[in-house]
C-alpha cells in the first residue's frame, strides 16, 4: 500500500509535466523541485482523538523507516483523513484537520511537577520522586480508609481512600489497565468521562 501510493503520487507529478511547450523536457528538473514533502515519509495509520465518529487519519512521519536520512529524527510532516476509511472517506472536520497543532504543541508540560501544601509555585520533580511520594500517599490513604468487613459482617474489601476520574481519549488497553489495577487496590470511586 505504502509503496503503491507513493509511486502513484510521483507518477502523477511526472505525468502532468511531460513535454512542455518549450520544446524540451523539464521532467528531471521539475520532479526534483516538486517532490512532495511527504514522498519520503512513512505513513502511519491513526484515529482522530476528538469525537467518537472515529475518523481514520494518516500521519506522515519523516525520519523513520527505510527512507530515513542521515541526521534526521522522527518528525511529523502532515496529518490528513484516510481515504480508505468507510466512515470518513478521507474527510476531517476543522478539529481533525488541525490535529498537527495538537500533536506538536509547545505548550505541553515537558516534565513532572509538584506543588507542595500551601506553596504558590510548581516545582520540578523527577519521575522517581513523584512516583515514590505518590505510592506512599496511596498506601496511607488505602490503609486508613480500607473497609475489609462492613457493619453487617460482610466481606467488602473496599478502599474509600482515593478515587480515579478518567478521561476518554486513552485507548481500550490503557482503560482496561486502569480498571484492573484500581479494582485490585479496592477502589470503588472509579469513573470516567461517560457520565459527564
Amino acid at each position: 500500500m505504502k509503496v503503491t501510493r507513493r509511486s502513484f503520487l510521483q507518477g502523477g507529478v511526472a505525468g502532468t509535466l511531460a513535454w512542455s511547450s518549450l520544446g524540451f523536457d523539464l521532467r528531471p528538473a521539475r520532479s526534483l523541485i516538486k517532490e512532495l514533502k511527504i514522498s519520503r515519509a512513512s505513513e502511519v495509520r491513526s484515529v482522530c482523538p476528538y469525537c467518537a465518529v472515529g475518523c481514520s487519519m494518516i500521519a506522515y512521519v519523516g525520519g523513520v523507516g527505510e527512507t530515513q536520512s542521515f541526521n534526521t529524527t522522527p518528525h511529523l510532516i502532515h496529518i490528513e483523513g484516510d481515504p480508505d476509511s468507510p466512515v470518513n472517506g478521507g474527510s476531517l472536520c476543522p478539529k481533525g484537520a488541525a490535529t498537527m497543532q495538537l500533536a506538536l504543541s509547545q505548550e505541553r508540560i515537558q516534565y513532572p511537577r509538584y506543588r507542595a501544601p500551601g506553596a504558590s509555585e510548581w516545582t520540578r520533580i523527577s519521575w522517581d520522586e513523584a512516583l515514590n511520594r505518590l505510592a506512599r500517599l496511596m498506601k496511607t490513604a488505602r490503609d486508613e480508609r480500607f473497609v475489609a468487613t462492613d457493619a453487617d459482617g460482610n466481606t467488602v474489601n473496599r478502599n474509600e481512600g482515593f478515587a480515579w476520574g478518567g478521561g476518554a481519549t486513552i485507548t481500550n488497553e490503557e482503560g482496561y489497565l486502569v480498571t484492573k489495577m484500581m479494582r485490585a487496590l479496592g477502589v470503588v470511586g472509579l469513573e470516567q468521562q461517560a457520565r459527564l
Binding site: A116, R136, F162, A163, G165, T169, E191
Partner: protein, 816 residues
C-alpha cells in the same frame, strides 16, 4: 447508556455511522451532529441525497443541524419526556405502531403484577424519606407451577411471565402504556415543551409514518438527552417510540447515541465506571459473599420460553474468566478464583460522590487522568472547594487544566490550600498504539506515529510504576489486606510499561489449556481454563491476529456493514439486535434492507445477533441479552431507579410547575449534603432557562491549546434571543453577565434569532445558550476567555445514573 441496556440489553449505539445511509427519516433530538459529529453526519446527507430521506431536528437552538434539516422546532430544555410521551400517545391512539413487530419483539404482551400502580407522578413503592423506590411491585405476573397431574409433558414454565398476545389484558404492558400516556395530549405537550400543538402533531404523524415494514426511522441523540435529572428516562421514552414503530434491529433504524469522545465507548466497556466490571458485569454488592451469591441480575433470569437469555446463562463463565485474567495462577476454584478481592461498594460512587466525600474530609486523594474535575463541574466552585479539602490530587495530562491549577485560580489563596498536587505529563494519542472504539462500536487500531518530546510518560508506565512501588511497600511493611495487590497478574514482557498489544490480547482472552487466543466468547469456561479480560471483545485479537487493524473495504451487501474493516463488538456485528430486522418466519421486514435472513439452514447477512442455526420455527426471542427474550417497553424491577415507564418531571431548576402531576422534580435524585440551598426554587431571581453546548471548532477543553481553532472561534459568548436582548437593552457584542444561584460568568452577547421565546400556557419563557469550551488555563484566547460555564451548573444528577443536569438550569442575564 443505562437506559439502552435496560431496554435492549446493551448500553451502546445500536447501529453505526455508515448505516445512516439506510434511513428514511431522522429524528435528531438533544444533538447537533452537523457541528459536533460532522464526518459521521454526512451519512444522513447521503440518505437524503440518495433515498430522499428527511431530517427533523428538535432542539432549544437553531443550529447547523437545523439548517440542514427539513424541519426544526424549538423545545424547552429538559422536557423531552413530555415530547416523547406525547408521541407515544399519538402513535397508540392513531394505530401507527407496527403491530406484528410489537407483539413479536417487545414485552408489550407481558402482564404486569397487580401491585403495580401510578398516581400523582409517583409509582408504587415510593419511600419519601429515603428518596427511593421499593421496586418489588414493578414486576410481571408470573406463571405458577402446573398442578399435579396437569401439563407434566409441557415445557417448564414456572416463574415465566404471563403474556397476552392479544394485548387486551388490562395489565398488559401495552394497555398500561396507553393508560399512562393518555395524559400527554398535544395541548399538554405544548404547555410543557413550548412546541405548538399543531407542529407537534405534524412531527408525531411524520415520524409515526415509519411504523410500517417498508420504512425505517432513526433517532439520533447525544448528551442533550443524557445531561438531565431525567436523562435516562428521556432515552427510554425515545426507545419506546422506536420499539412501537418497529425501528430497532433494522438497518437504517436504531437508537443512535452519539458519543462525544474518541474512546468514551471503549472506556465504558472496560468499566471505568463505579457500578460495573469489564463487559457490563455488575460490581458485587455487600452480602454477595460468594460466587454463588454473586447473583446474575434479576433482569437476566429467563422469563419466557422463547428467551435465549445468552448473557444470563453465561454470566458466571464471564466473571470467572475475568478473575483468571486479573489473578492468574493464584485464582483457583478452591479460593473462588479470588472473587472476594473484588471491592463491594455500599452506595453510589459516581463523580459527584467523589467531591461530596472530599468535602466531608473522607477522601484523601483523587486522580484526574485525561479529564478535569474543575472544568467539567458541575458547580465548579463546589468542586474547587472539594479539591482544596483533598490531601492530594494527581493530574495526568499533556496540558495544564483548570484542575491542575485550581490552587492558584481566581479567588483562591494558595497559602490556604494544603492539597499536594502532582502534574504527571503523559503522552498523546499520536504517540502510542491501541484501540479506539467509535460511537458505532467499531474498534479501530491506531499505531504509534511519533516518539514523545520531553520527559513525558505513557499512562501504562505511570500505572505500572505505582503498582510495582505499592507491591514493594506492602511486601515490606504489610498493611490493609495486601493480597489483591500482591496477587495481581501482571504478566507483561515489560512490567514497567506493558506493551499495549499484550494487554489487547489479554482483553480478548485465551484458552489456558492450549494457550491459544480465543476466537469467540462461546468458548468461555467457568472452570478456570479460560482467562478473558473483557468478554465482549473476544474475537478482536485471535490466533489470526489483530482483527481491529483490518483494512478491508469490501461491502458485498451494499448496506455498509464493512465486516472486514476493523472489528465491531460484539462478534463483529454491525447492527445490534438484528434478528428483529426479520419477521416471525425469518423474512426481512423490508427485502431491500435485510439485517439477517433465514435461508433454511442459517441466518445470513450481518453477523447474527442470535443463535446462527436456530430456525424461526423454534420461536426464540430476538433480544438475547434480556431475560424476556424481547425488548422492554416496561423496564421491570430495579433496572431504572425512577420508574419502569418514563414520566415527565421538571428539571430541578425550572420556571414552571409540573403540568402533568403534583410531583415536580424527579423523586429519586440524590440530594448531596448541603446542595439543596444551591438550587433556585422558582424563576423569581433567575428567570431564564440556560442550556449548554459545543461548537464545531472546539472539542471540550483541550482545543484551547490549538491556535488554528482558537482563531476560528476565539471568544466565550452568550447566545440570547432578540426579544430578551431588547427587553434588557442588550446589543450584539455587549458584555453580559450571566448568573445562577451558584456563580456567574461574563462574555460577549450573541443576539440571535436562533433562540426563540417559548409560550407555555400563559407564560413566555426565554432560553439562553452557553458554550462549554473556555477555561482559565486555556492557551490562546482573548482577554475574556477565562469563563467556565460549569460555574453555573447545578450539583444534581439523573434519578438512575446520577449524570449531572448540565443542560437545563435557571440563570439571570444583565449587561455587564
Amino acid at each position: 447508556m443505562v437506559s439502552l441496556a435496560a431496554t435492549f440489553g446493551r448500553g451502546a449505539m445500536t447501529n453505526h455511522w455508515v448505516d445512516f445511509k439506510n434511513s428514511d427519516l431522522f429524528l435528531v433530538i438533544g444533538a447537533n451532529p452537523a457541528e459536533n459529529h460532522p464526518c459521521g453526519w454526512k451519512w444522513a446527507f447521503h440518505a437524503r441525497d440518495h433515498r430522499g430521506a428527511r431530517i427533523i431536528h428538535v432542539d432549544p437552538r437553531f443550529t447547523r443541524t437545523s439548517a440542514t434539516a427539513d424541519k426544526w422546532v424549538a423545545i424547552r430544555a429538559g422536557t423531552d419526556v413530555a415530547f416523547f410521551g406525547g408521541m407515544i400517545r399519538h402513535i397508540l391512539e392513531n394505530q401507527l405502531y407496527h403491530d406484528e413487530y410489537v407483539k413479536l419483539h417487545t414485552n408489550a404482551s407481558f402482564v404486569v403484577s397487580e401491585g403495580f400502580s401510578f398516581q400523582d407522578g409517583l409509582f408504587s413503592g415510593y419511600d419519601e424519606a429515603a428518596r427511593e423506590y421499593d421496586t418489588s411491585t414493578w414486576e410481571y405476573e408470573r406463571m405458577a407451577a402446573p398442578a399435579p397431574g396437569e401439563g407434566e409433558d409441557a415445557a417448564p414454565s414456572e416463574g415465566f411471565a404471563v403474556r397476552d398476545l392479544s394485548l387486551q389484558h388490562p395489565r398488559s404492558v401495552f394497555q398500561l402504556l396507553k393508560q399512562h400516556y393518555a395524559r400527554y395530549t398535544p395541548e399538554v405537550v405544548e404547555e410543557v415543551t413550548g412546541i405548538p400543538a399543531d407542529e407537534f402533531v405534524a412531527i408525531a404523524d411524520e415520524f409515526g409514518s415509519t411504523g410500517v415494514p417498508e420504512k425505517v426511522g432513526n433517532i439520533v441523540y447525544a448528551v442533550g438527552l443524557t445531561h438531565h435529572t431525567q436523562g435516562s428516562q428521556m432515552i427510554r421514552a425515545a426507545a419506546i417510540v422506536q420499539l412501537l414503530l418497529g425501528n430497532m434491529g433494522r438497518p437504517g433504524g436504531g437508537m443512535n447515541a452519539e458519543r462525544g469522545h474518541a474512546n468514551i465507548q471503549g472506556n465504558t466497556d472496560n468499566a471505568q465506571s463505579w457500578e460495573i466490571l469489564p463487559g457490563y458485569l455488575q460490581i458485587p454488592r455487600p452480602g454477595m459473599e460468594t460466587l454463588d451469591q454473586y447473583e446474575t441480575p434479576a433482569s437476566l433470569t429467563q422469563m419466557d420460553a422463547g428467551s435465549i437469555n445468552f448473557f444470563g446463562s453465561n454470566y458466571r463463565k464471564f466473571m470467572i474468566s475475568l478473575l483468571k485474567a486479573w489473578y492468574g495462577e493464584s485464582a483457583q476454584a478452591a479460593n473462588e478464583f479470588h472473587y472476594s478481592y473484588i471491592p463491594k461498594p455500599d452506595k453510589n460512587w459516581s463523580w459527584m460522590t467523589f467531591y461530596a466525600e472530599a468535602l466531608a474530609g473522607r477522601l484523601h486523594g483523587l486522580f484526574n487522568s485525561g479529564m478535569s474535575s474543575v472544568n467539567i463541574g458541575p458547580d465548579s466552585n463546589r468542586v474547587v472547594q472539594a479539591l482544596s479539602r483533598l490531601k492530594w490530587l494527581v493530574v495526568m495530562d499533556p496540558f495544564p487544566t483548570a484542575s491542575s491549577e485550581f490552587w492558584h485560580g481566581e479567588g483562591v489563596d494558595p497559602a490556604s490550600v494544603d492539597t499536594e498536587v502532582f502534574f504527571l505529563p503523559t503522552t498523546h494519542w499520536i504517540e502510542k498504539a491501541g484501540a479506539f472504539v467509535n460511537s458505532g462500536r467499531w474498534t479501530q487500531w491506531k499505531h504509534a506515529a511519533l516518539p514523545a518530546e520531553g520527559d513525558v510518560k505513557d499512562d501504562a508506565y505511570i500505572l505500572s510504576q505505582l503498582l510495582l512501588r505499592l507491591q514493594a511497600l506492602y511486601q515490606k511493611e504489610g498493611g490493609a489486606f495486601p493480597d489483591p495487590i500482591l496477587d495481581l497478574h501482571w504478566p507483561y514482557s515489560n512490567p514497567n510499561n506493558p506493551p499495549l498489544e499484550e494487554v489487547s490480547r489479554e482483553i480478548n482472552g485465551r484458552d489456558l489449556t492450549t494457550g491459544a487466543q480465543l476466537a469467540t466468547f462461546n468458548d468461555a469456561k467457568d472452570d478456570g481454563t479460560t482467562a478473558i479480560g473483557n468478554w465482549i471483545y473476544t474475537g478482536s485479537w485471535t490466533e489470526e491476529g489483530n482483527m481491529m487493524d483490518r483494512r478491508g473495504t469490501d461491502d458485498p451487501t451494499g448496506l455498509g456493514f464493512f465486516h472486514n474493516w476493523a472489528w465491531s463488538w460484539p462478534a463483529n456485528r454491525r447492527v445490534l439486535y438484528n434478528r428483529a430486522s426479520a419477521d416471525a418466519d425469518g423474512r426481512p421486514w423490508d427485502a431491500t434492507r435485510p439485517g439477517i435472513v433465514w435461508n433454511g439452514q442459517t441466518w445470513k447477512g450481518d453477523v447474527p445477533d442470535f443463535t446462527p442455526d436456530s430456525p424461526p420455527s423454534e420461536g426464540k426471542g430476538a433480544f438475547i441479552m434480556t431475560g424476556e427474550g424481547v425488548a422492554r417497553i416496561f423496564a421491570p424491577g430495579s433496572l431504572m431507579m425512577d420508574g419502569p415507564i418514563p414520566e415527565h418531571y421538571e428539571p430541578v431548576e425550572s420556571p414552571v410547575e409540573n403540568v402533568l402531576s403534583p410531583t415536580r422534580r424527579v423523586p429519586t435524585t440524590i440530594l448531596y449534603e448541603g446542595v439543596a440551598a444551591s438550587f433556585a426554587e422558582d424563576d423569581s431571581e433567575f428567570p431564564y432557562v440556560a442550556t449548554t453546548y459545543r461548537v464545531t471548532e472546539h472539542e471540550h477543553f483541550v482545543t484551547q491549546y490549538v491556535p488554528y481553532l482558537v482563531e476560528a472561534m476565539p471568544d466565550f459568548f452568550i447566545e440570547l434571543p432578540r426579544e430578551l436582548a431588547n427587553e434588557k437593552g442588550i446589543s450584539d457584542l455587549d458584555q453580559v453577565r450571566v448568573s445562577s444561584k451558584r456563580g456567574h460568568v461574563q462574555g460577549v452577547a450573541l443576539v440571535t434569532k436562533r433562540m426563540r421565546p417559548l409560550r407555555l400556557g400563559n407564560k413566555v419563557v426565554y432560553q439562553v445558550g452557553i458554550p462549554v469550551h473556555w477555561h482559565p488555563t486555556g492557551g490562546h484566547g482573548k482577554g475574556n476567555t477565562a469563563q467556565m460555564v460549569n460555574l453555573l451548573t447545578p450539583y444534581v444528577g439523573d434519578g438512575t445514573t446520577v449524570t449531572p443536569e448540565f443542560k437545563a438550569f435557571l440563570v439571570n442575564v444583565e449587561r455587564a
